[in-house]
Symmetry: C2
Subunit: 347 residues, 2 copies
Amino acid sequence: MKIYKERIKELQYSLKKEKLDAVVINRVLETGFLTGFYLSGCVLLVSKTNICAFVPKMLFEHFKSKVSFVEAVSSNDMKSAVLAEIKKSKFKIKKTAFQPETETYINGMFWKTRGLIEKTGLTASLRLVKKGAELKAIRKSCHIAAEAFAIIKPRIKTGRTEISIARELEGIMQSMGATGPSFDTIVAFGANSARPHHETSMRVLKKNEAILIDYGCVYDFYCSDRTKTFFYGKAGAEFKKVYSIVEASQKKAIKALKSGTKASFIDKIARDVIMDKGYGQYFVHGTGHGVGLEIHEAPTVNSKSKDILKEGMILTVEPGIYLNGKFGVRIEDTLLVKKKGYEILTK
Amino acid sequence: MKIYKERIKELQYSLKKEKLDAVVINRVLETGFLTGFYLSGCVLLVSKTNICAFVPKMLFEHFKSKVSFVEAVSSNDMKSAVLAEIKKSKFKIKKTAFQPETETYINGMFWKTRGLIEKTGLTASLRLVKKGAELKAIRKSCHIAAEAFAIIKPRIKTGRTEISIARELEGIMQSMGATGPSFDTIVAFGANSARPHHETSMRVLKKNEAILIDYGCVYDFYCSDRTKTFFYGKAGAEFKKVYSIVEASQKKAIKALKSGTKASFIDKIARDVIMDKGYGQYFVHGTGHGVGLEIHEAPTVNSKSKDILKEGMILTVEPGIYLNGKFGVRIEDTLLVKKKGYEILTK
């Protein structure tokens, strides 16, 4: 409860700084972040001194029992109820904001055509740097992912399907307290590993094949993300070479992580190692992304990113080389950015 | 492949009818529906005679190998690439549409400020009535759900947690071919069942308690949805009474399903049965919703719905009565609307 009150206060501080009367919060990621109530359909109206939740009738008793520190109004026409409240409160409509990056086109246009103004980043800035309970949840989420892999790896044998490995891995994570996978688990055997987003299939493992597993879990609403690539059987020279390049790329990029570094610089370090070895064209994606309530969130770690790393950010470093028709190698960890370095959470 | 070509043709026919040059398709539900490629990040430009896919670099080889019947362009700046193509093709920008209901605010504003026009329902109308492979997938999805419940039910005993039942039920569905649950499985014991969207917890089952299980799975991208409520132990008079009212409400509403009926009329039938018995205020949600690629999609079955039922629509009928602090009863099936009636798919 304390943590939510603090987040609301931080948001209210931003409103004052931005000279706004209020902001409407409309997406479950943000309404959940501010109240701890992660069921969709609620809208929050946060003013400089107050907060009011507009809650669908069917969730009203549930919301009230869980979120005692926020005034709640039951409604089945949220947006109109919010508008009425804005007028009643004598807020200036032109000083009430909505966040374009969190709205659907239809909802955003509703606010815009009623005179509310666009203001990006009010809640995103709160979600960007992780602390306290968030960090604890992400640590546990990453720890579960790492432990579960250690359990599944010796069970991977010829004759098993990609799907059976994915299901078992998910089951192990859930038995450790995860509520589910943080995205569709990717298990790719042989040439399937050359597809960065392979759809896990009934493909059976044969002797002497590459195996790529990209997976993670959700623990207390927070995600983890990790990719392991290894060879089942006796790896040939090409796999060994490519693996060592990707490994060197990831290690070098990770070592550069610290508060104040540009995210684009991390991408450059990872990419340069791979380019120098002549595999640049096969590294077909960015180097990483932030992780939190969402599996992909800010910061962005690619060549075009404008993000600067800050202490408390959580991100992945995941270079890869994909040789179509042969195999792919991706190595990924979820990391915490520290003042003078980093911590690998998925190990 | 044939099915996707047919869908594209139907969309192109709509463009002609609406006197549009082209439409941009931007959401994975729709790009997947039209191509069979259900990975996010692709944008389609569909004209009256052509279709072009703009595919992220990392998915390009994967897309080409799966979707041979669509011209594909690799890009990492989709929206600009689409705009350039529109101009190159000499389409009239003002006769190229985007679908507001499928766009985020930021993407929708991008199209709008570049002169594209809003046009709702072009793909929604294709998704509304199910046929062929869709119907087959939904049937199987519903069949798995029904079979899995028959297996889990005798395993529900005092001492088991809500979460353990949810996990085991999901595991049974996956072992039958489901790719995962169609939403967060709700298992609610005792007073928890009075929350329509209870968050499945570590709560342990005791003797003589209500049990509500709301669940479903995804099979070949299509969802199923079902709720079973029953009593573990010896039910008291109040539970028996409430159960029989909800059961009568659901039965009567289901019997009214047929092509041509108003969805709001189905809601009225279900609601009247419950109101007549004096429980109207405890039926705090709509009577049902469409089911397909999404767990909640058109048509809407509530008092305000303007939808008219058509042969081939899939929807739920799920009245409920929730007695805060005591128990809740919801009974839900997924059904197919037929010309002169209906078919219950979740049994």
